[in-house]
């Protein structure tokens, strides 16, 4: 979790028909958060979909995405090593809390039980392993979602307005937790948001679309 990674976005240009939606050239270092801001419809989500490997076929994209120097632009989504945090925590409703965390762990990880226990302890949810995710509070869900992401050992993280649906009093706390964790793990992160406070808390560079 403390390896260092670097994400480079070289001359990215995404088009829908003749209309250019996003143009971007940036480099994100280990533990750094780059914030992309813009109103809805500005192509933020399209950018994330492109980076994660889910771009719908009607869009055209140019440019190169380098992760630790390797071009991942042609890799399928599951091979890119890009973690994604959505607006909603999206805990799998058919799995328990522990099951959700276990889903994040790569298959190669041997003894998963202690890893999951340890992860729950880190987010102050010890003993919650068997719980139905639907019974957790909003903050607890967000923490489980973050931990699941970290357990999957991504090389870079994409954040899609992950705090916009949280209550105000929680938002700040969760933001701190997320950014601290990402930084501690040395992960380059790209945050898209329309909330200025998100950008402030992230503390990194901000690009306006």
């Amino acid at each position: 979790m403390n390896a260092t990674h670097r994400l480079e976005l070289r001359d990215i240009c995404i088009q829908l028909g003749d209309q250019v939606l996003v143009e971007l050239d940036a480099e994100i270092g280990p533990g750094e958060v780059l914030t992309v801001m813009g109103p809805s419809g500005s192509g933020k989500s399209t950018l994330l979909a492109y980076l994660a490997g889910f771009l719908a076929p009607e869009f055209r994209a140019r440019g190169r995405v380098l992760l630790d120097g390797q071009d991942i632009g042609s890799l399928p989504a599951e091979k890119r090593g890009m973690g994604l945090l959505f607006q909603d925590p999206l805990l799998f409703p058919h799995l328990s809390v522990a099951g959700n965390l276990r889903f994040g762990l790569p298959r190669s990880v041997g003894d998963k039980v202690p890893r999951v226990e340890d992860a729950l302890a880190q987010i102050n949810l010890s003993g919650f392993g068997d719980r139905d995710p639907a019974t957790l509070s909003g903050g607890q869900k967000a923490r489980v979602a973050l931990m699941r992401l970290l357990l999957s050992a991504p090389c870079a993280v994409l954040l899609d307005e992950p705090f916009s649906k949280l209550d105000t009093h929680l938002r700040h706390e969760i933001r701190r937790l997320v950014f601290d964790r990402l930084r501690a793990a040395g992960l380059p992160s790209l945050l898209v948001t329309h909330d200025r406070e998100d950008a402030d808390d992230a503390g990194g560079r901000v690009i306006e679309l």
């Binding site: 973690g83 409703p93 994040g104 050992a153």
Partner: protein
């Protein structure tokens, strides 16, 4: 790779047999059938067909009963959804949809016939007290020349189907929010539903509606029990020509089969025209902005009709159940003179074989259909492409009347040298099971939030992993419902089983139909109940299993 092949495979599997079968019907319709000495093409079969007395009346009854039964069924379903959503009646009806759906068509028709006949249950309950009848009145009720009882029988069976399809499609429209919004603008709730939900719901259930039209305009078994007799509906006439001892009638029967296809297509075309008309009228009605007028009427009608239909269906089945244990039952006694288990005891030893055979055919054909449907849908998701246009061909078996191509299909299969094995029957069932499974599943599958799979992929799961570990378990409930629908469809098949199995493959349904030819209502009662119980078991599993599995997963309980 295998996934890419799925849509192609589906289309070939469904289209080839139908086109082949239709060709084999078209040739004799044009006088070519060397086995009976028809060596050259001619229009004689058509001349004979149109010279048949009452042919146009048959055509008219088929057309009218198909369209009216569909219109009434759709109206009752929409009225109910508009009036009753969220009420106690609603929860009650939703629970009854599946059992209603699992009653075989023929059984429901027998049940209705016994209910409304002059010597039926209603007359018995009302006599002699209210009516003074000591003997059944000499009234023409069932098999009336206008096809009213036929329409009633069809309506009873088609409402549950359309209701199930509507309930599957509704969640994506978020009707509660729409109605709430309209109510905040001053519309009364039922009117609000009609004005803001119904117009969006209809396009989603259009295909099932078309399937109902096609079915209702070409149905054989229900029409034989409840339909007019002099002349009968076109489909029944065709079947009787095909079974006429005079083999030369086969030419005319084949021409009739092609005419039936024309009648069904005409019914669909008329409906298409009616759609335009209603859309325009609805548009005007919505634009006028009336907020209260008609609310009470719509509301009451919505609850009343569905209640009437449900009660009728269940009382009809109850009548069959009573018959299955009845001793002699003299008119106008409300109950049989004695009860006996003799009918069941006699049937039980012969149940095992047909049940095993039915279960085998139903399970294999439904699982195959499910695998194909899932493969096609998953392929759609992965390639991110819109539903393949060729997939509408999937619904061909629902639109082309069975009677138009099955006889031809048998000849084709004989020419290919296939033997009437379980495998061949399973293939035949697949033709009809696959469209229904696809119809039941596609809405839920396409609506499934794509973020779940994306999330799984970004967490390092493969496409297959995401399918097996996320999509499949999360869609368990709709998948099981589709399975149950598929099982019910397969279990109810008579003609495909009997024709492709050369009569050697005995299922509960073939057994029930051949015994029904003996007209013994007690035996019919026993077999109809057996026939209804099998799909019911499927529906109980489909509803119960997810509840059991997800008893500790609150968010999975509400998934449709």
């Amino acid at each position: 790779m295998m996934l890419r092949l799925a849509p192609v495979l589906i289309v070939i599997l469904l289209v080839a047999p139908i086109l082949g079968g239709l060709t084999m019907a078209l040739l004799p319709a044009l006088g070519y059938l060397p086995a009976l000495g028809g060596e050259s093409l001619s229009l004689d079969p058509w001349r004979a067909l149109f010279a048949e007395p009452g042919i146009w009346r048959s055509v008219a009854v088929s057309l009218a009963s198909g369209l009216i039964a569909t219109a009434v069924s759709l109206a009752v379903v929409l009225l109910y959804l508009a009036a009753a959503t969220g009420s106690r009646l609603d929860r009650w009806i939703r629970r009854l949809v599946s059992p209603l759906l699992s009653i075989p068509h023929a059984a429901a028709a027998f049940g209705l016939a016994f209910l409304i006949a002059p010597s039926g249950l209603i007359a018995r309950l009302a006599s002699p007290g209210l009516t003074g009848w000591e003997r059944p009145p000499d009234l023409l009720i069932t098999q009336d020349p206008w096809g009213l009882s036929l329409i009633a029988g069809l309506v009873i069976k088609e409402i549950p189907f359309l209701l199930l399809m509507s309930l599957a499609a509704l969640p994506q429209l978020d009707p509660e929010r729409r109605v709430a919004m309209a109510r905040s603008l001053g519309y009364r709730p039922t009117l609000a539903w009609w004005k803001v939900v119904a117009p969006s719901l209809y396009p989603l259930i259009r295909l099932p509606v078309f399937a109902v039209i096609a079915y209702a305009s070409s149905v054989v078994d229900v029409a034989m029990i409840l339909g007019p007799t002099l002349p009968p509906t076109l489909a029944v006439s065709i079947l009787s020509w095909f079974s006429d001892p005079d083999l030369d009638m086969r030419f005319m029967a084949s021409a009739g089969a092609i005419l039936q296809l024309g009648v069904t297509v005409t019914a669909l075309a008329i409906w298409w025209g009616l759609e335009r008309l209603v859309a325009r009228l609805m548009g005007g009605w919505i634009a006028r902005g009336g907020r209260c007028q008609g609310e009470t009427g719509l509301h009451v009608a919505g609850k009343l009709w569905i209640l009437l239909v449900t009660v009728t269906a269940f009382v009809g089945i109850a009548g069959l159940a009573i018959h299955s244990v009845a001793g002699f039952w003299r008119f106008p006694a409300a109950l049989p003179e004695s009860f006996t288990s003799a009918h069941w005891v006699r049937a039980l030893p012969s149940l095992a074989g047909p049940i095993a055979s039915t279960a085998l055919i139903a399970l294999v054909s439904t699982l195959l259909a499910l695998a194909l449907a899932l493969a096609a849908l998953e392929n759609e998701q992965r390639t991110g492409r819109h539903p393949s246009r060729a997939l509408w061909l999937l619904y061909l078996p629902l639109i082309v009347p069975q009677i138009a191509f099955l006889f031809g299909l048998v000849v084709m299969m004989e020419q290919l040298g296939t033997r009437p094995t379980h495998a061949l029957v399973i293939f035949g069932h697949l033709l009809f099971v696959l469209p229904y499974v696809f119809l039941s599943l596609s809405e839920a599958y396409r609506r499934f939030d794509p973020r779940w799979s994306r999330l799984a992929l970004t967490l390092g799961a493969s496409h297959n992993g995401a399918f097996w570990r996320v999509r499949l378990p999360m869609l368990l409930a709709p998948i099981l419902t589709a399975l149950a629908v598929g099982l019910a469809v397969s279990i109810g098949q008579y003609l495909p089983t009997q024709l492709l199995g050369a009569g050697r493959i005995t299922t509960v349904t073939t057994e029930a139909v051949s015994l029904a030819s003996g007209g013994n209502r007690r035996v019919i009662g026993v077999w109809a109940l057996v026939q209804a119980c099998l799909p019911l078991a499927g529906f109980i599993i489909a509803i119960g299993l997810p509840r059991l599995l997800w008893s500790n997963r609150r968010a999975m309980q509400g998934v449709p």
